[in-house]
């Protein structure tokens, strides 16, 4: 049970403003592959599909929680899009959910000329793989509440616009959807029935 520090009516008003703005841009968001699953205070649930991949794929879903907003930054958790349960880091990795820190190519020119693969930090993190996965980005509650970021409190960012629903979904899209370039398939051919042809 979350302790209420902000009048729920205030958080609800701001929540409804964020949801209303989503609705105004629903057509463009749909083109990006953002599928609104639920918008019921204090939660918004969105699934992310990849329209640029063929066949189209549902890559992941997230729940954005606006409790005590915006004294607190929104909380973001990965959820199973079909039953809604929140995912641990182990489950997220099993489902291949990854948000590379670098949006775009991870190929860089090395100091001596050859092109090198740069290993990007995955923004999907947890202290233990059995803990709930969180996204390590400013503007997200779990980032600011983590001891490693005690020097970067949410309240110093509150007026910068990074805690809006649009910005959070935009970052999930940029790091987690646009970074998915292609499917990798392994193809195994099995021949089950060979008919022998008799002599001519």
């Amino acid at each position: 049970m979350i302790e209420l520090l902000v009048d729920p009516d205030v958080s609800r008003l701001k929540f409804e403003r964020e949801v209303s703005r989503f609705a105004e841009n629903a057509r463009e968001y749909r083109q990006r592959g953002w599928i609104l699953l639920k918008a019921e205070f204090p939660d918004v649930e969105v699934a992310f599909a990849a329209p640029h991949l063929w066949p189209h794929a549902l890559l992941f879903a997230a729940r954005v929680n606006f409790s005590n907003y915006d004294l607190w930054a929104p909380s973001v958790r990965f959820i199973d899009p079909f039953d809604g349960h929140t995912l641990t880091l182990a489950e997220a990795r099993k489902k291949r959910i990854s948000l590379p820190q670098n949006q775009g190519s991870n190929l860089v020119l090395g100091p001596n000329g050859p092109i090198q693969m740069q290993v990007a930090t995955d923004l999907v993190q947890a202290d233990d793989e059995n803990d709930l996965a969180f996204i390590c980005l400013p503007g997200i509650r779990e980032y600011h509440e983590h001891p490693a970021h005690s020097g970067d409190p949410w309240l110093t960012h509150r007026k910068e616009g990074i805690g809006s629903l649009h910005n959070i979904l935009d970052k999930l899209h940029g790091h987690g959807v646009l970074s998915a370039r292609a499917f990798g398939f392994n193809l195994t051919v099995t021949i089950s029935d060979i008919q022998r042809m008799g002599p001519g």
Partner: protein, 88 residues
């Protein structure tokens, strides 16, 4: 001397649509600054915002509005740039 061509665009600032009359000869970065001022988003300077098209693809702001060939009423999306995330 003919008047510079203008068209109305919609700059969606953090989800909030802002209607802007754009001069086709002005750079997008100037348009960004005007959209931020009009929407009262002054918490970060314009260079800390990134501009994207409807598909979410990043647009270089150092080009003229006319170079994009956008139909009137086109929506462009402004979001704050991501901060440094991740942990060692």
């Amino acid at each position: 001397m003919s008047e510079p061509k203008k068209e109305e665009l919609v700059i969606v600032v953090n989800g909030e649509p802002v209607h802007i009359e754009a001069n086709l000869n002005e750079e997008l970065i100037a348009l960004v600054a005007r959209a931020l001022a009009k929407s009262h988003n002054t918490g970060q300077p314009p260079e800390n915002w990134e501009l994207k098209n409807a598909s979410g693809v990043l647009i270089d702001q150092h080009q003229k509005v006319g170079a994009l060939g956008l139909p009137p009423g086109t929506k462009l999306f402004l979001s704050p740039k991501a901060g440094v995330g991740g942990r060692d």
